[in-house]
């Protein structure tokens, strides 16, 4: 097996608060190879965005980052200084954000903002940068690309702005693209287009992509690998098809019951919900974080939780089958 492009081992993020330390992200492990799409799925506040910002080195000053390993193509991200991180950002690791409406600077033209990335990282002339910007705008499906360069963000719609953000992220042909809920703020009709575009581009440019989303429908369509995140932990990781076919962790199954599945879910039948709320992560967190909402919780869930499954498809649960046998009885 080739060495992964990105390797993260035991990533922990903590935020000091007035009432104790908030353990926002705990023990995250994942590997990502070139050309792969990893989707991190989870509810709001599960730590998905923080994880991606930690990779970019863009966490707020108050957030502490600890890990056993964070390696990007031979660069140790944990030891990298600001200079090294700055050279990586926008150049080899690029990011697309959730808010296309506010992610572009209102004071500069689209052209200025697109070319800036390339001019920051490459010794190219403005004319070359402009040509590249036009090329990418066309690639992301923007018509009349050349005339768009002199337009300002407020003159574009949300969908167009997100396309511009994608073009912006691709200016330097990054090796890794992190897309943090890239379609959440967009109309449903645009969502599919943008996703399709992202997937096509990652294939075409042989990029690795981390797609952060809370939308399982999105994951099913585009991801190679899925990492299900709950309250700051990865509860289940595996190849997308496997995870969807045989979801092992009770939380993953709960999530899947929340979305209608063509052919399986009957018309008019109620969709599943997961009762309860995410527990507070302030102070020491031990045992299974999902136990407060899990229908199969037992005393053992308070203790250390073992890792089950294969190397490629793993999950954390006290039941070695993820309580699947019990669920059959419940249903």
């Amino acid at each position: 097996m080739t060495t992964p492009l990105l390797s993260v081992k035991n990533l922990n993020l903590t935020i000091p608060t007035g009432s104790g330390t908030l353990h926002a992200v705990r023990g995250i492990d994942f590997d990502l190879h070139r050309g792969e799409t990893l989707s991190i799925v989870g509810e709001s506040g599960s730590g998905k965005s923080l994880t991606s910002l930690a990779l970019m080195g863009l966490l707020g000053k108050s957030i502490a980052r600890q890990a056993d390993e964070m390696n990007f193509d031979g660069v140790d991200l944990l030891a990298a200084n600001r200079r090294v991180m700055r050279d990586l950002r926008g150049n080899r690791i690029a990011m697309i954000f959730q808010e296309p409406m506010t992610s572009l600077n209102p004071a500069y033209t689209i052209g200025d903002q697109l070319t800036e990335t390339l001019l920051l990282h490459r010794k190219v002339s403005k004319a070359v940068a402009r040509a590249r910007a036009i090329e990418l705008l066309e690639k992301v499906g923007i018509t009349a690309a050349e005339s768009r360069l002199s337009q300002y963000p407020h003159q574009l719609s949300g969908g167009l702005r997100q396309r511009v953000m994608i073009a912006l992220a691709l200016m330097c042909e990054p090796d890794l693209l992190i897309a943090d809920e890239p379609t959440t703020a967009l109309d449903v009709t645009i969502q599919a287009q943008i996703l399709r575009l992202l997937v096509d581009l990652t294939r075409e440019m042989n990029m690795a992509m981390i797609l952060i989303t809370h939308d399982l429908g999105v994951v099913a369509r585009v991801a190679d690998k899925v990492a299900v995140m709950y309250a700051g932990e990865l509860v289940e990781t595996g190849p997308a098809q496997e995870v969807f076919a045989t979801p092992s962790h009770p939380y993953t199954r709960g999530l899947l019951r929340c979305i209608p599945q063509p052919g399986k879910t009957e018309r008019g039948a109620p969709l599943g919900t997961i009762p309860g709320v995410v527990p507070s992560l302030i102070g020491e967190v031990s045992g299974c974080v999902f136990r407060t909402r899990c229908p199969h919780a037992q005393v053992a869930c308070r203790a250390e939780i073992p890792q089950h499954g294969t190397a490629s498809h793993g999950f954390r649960c006290v039941y070695d089958d993820g309580a699947l046998s019990e669920e059959g009885e419940l249903a």
């Binding site: 863009l58 992610s103 004071a107």
Partner: protein, 305 residues
């Protein structure tokens, strides 16, 4: 952009005409100018003679029209008190005031903007506290008192600077500091608040994600957006400094336009007061117009307004 400038210019002209009419008519509301001119001991006939001599007996609109057209040619009549053409009188005094106002606003901007940015980068740091202290002190301290303290310390005790007058550039140092320090707190607080706000925004995160350095993020991406309200504020303050620096001008015996206005009101010197009000208002209008244009250049969204 050009249509925006033309629109704003048209608007500025309209405001200017309105202001000129108001400033002209205000003086008629303040009493019979002929009676005031003639003095307390004058007889009714004398007042009537003066009324005819100065043309106060004609309809107000006619007088306004005449005054406006000569004003446009630079003729504001003759000062009742100095017996000199008002235009040359004001032009003379305005040099001092304009120099002072310009130095004052430059001093304010050059201290307030860097301090505001520094305070916003590190909120609650030592520099933020210092900036807060300076701005509270500046807002609380009356100009005349600060001016007097400077005179006592820098001019009398240390003997570094001349205490009053306007003959050399050294005479302008203390008035500049006093006037600038008066305008500084508001600009500083607005810069700080603007920067804090902008630094939180998504496009700053985008700039960082591009791999832009911190200096570039601060000055290219953040400051341009944060400075927009500061431009409008500075324009108003500049207008105020040109017309309202009476206190500073008196403390340092700089005989500028503000001081002239104060003298002329006291002496009922109508043509001078009218002309000064017009000139001061024009400054406001010009600076507001310039601020609008500058803001439209800074923020493209304003160009369609």
């Amino acid at each position: 952009m050009l249509t925006f400038i033309l629109k704003r210019l048209g608007l500025a002209l309209l405001v200017a005409i309105t202001v000129s009419f108001i400033s002209f008519s205000l003086l008629f509301l303040s009493g019979d100018p002929a009676a005031a001119l003639a003095g307390e001991t004058a007889s009714g006939e004398d007042i009537e003679a003066i009324r005819r001599l100065y043309g106060f007996d004609r309809p107000m609109l006619v007088q306004y029209g005449e005054w406006l057209f000569s004003a446009l040619r630079g003729d504001f009549g003759e000062s009742y008190y100095f017996k000199l053409p008002v235009a040359s009188l004001i032009a003379d005094r305005l040099q001092v005031t304009m120099l002072l106002g310009l130095c004052g606003i430059l001093f304010a901007l050059l201290t307030a903007v860097p301090l505001g940015v520094a305070a916003a980068i590190r909120p609650n740091s030592l520099i933020d506290r210092l900036a807060l202290f300076l701005s509270v002190a500046g807002q609380a301290m009356p100009s005349f008192w600060f001016g007097l303290i400077l005179i006592v310390v820098l001019a009398i005790q240390l003997g570094w600077l001349p205490p009053s007058g306007a003959s050399t550039w050294r005479h302008f140092i203390m008035p500049t500091i006093v006037l600038g320090y008066y305008a500084m707190p508001a600009i500083m607080r607005l810069t700080r608040a603007g920067m804090l706000d902008v630094l939180e925004s998504d496009f700053i995160r985008t700039a960082r994600a591009k791999g832009a350095g911190e200096t570039r993020v601060l000055f290219k991406h953040a400051l341009r957006n944060a400075i927009i309200p500061v431009v409008s504020l500075a324009a108003v303050q500049m207008g105020f400094m040109l017309g309202g620096s009476i206190v500073v001008e008196s403390v340092f015996a700089l005989h500028g336009a503000g001081f002239l206005a104060w003298e002329s009101i006291a002496r009922n010197d109508l043509p001078t007061v009218q002309a000064l009000i017009l000139v001061f208002s024009m400054f406001y209008i010009i600076f507001t117009f310039l601020a609008d244009v500058l803001n439209a250049w800074l923020d493209p969204r304003m160009r369609s307004a």
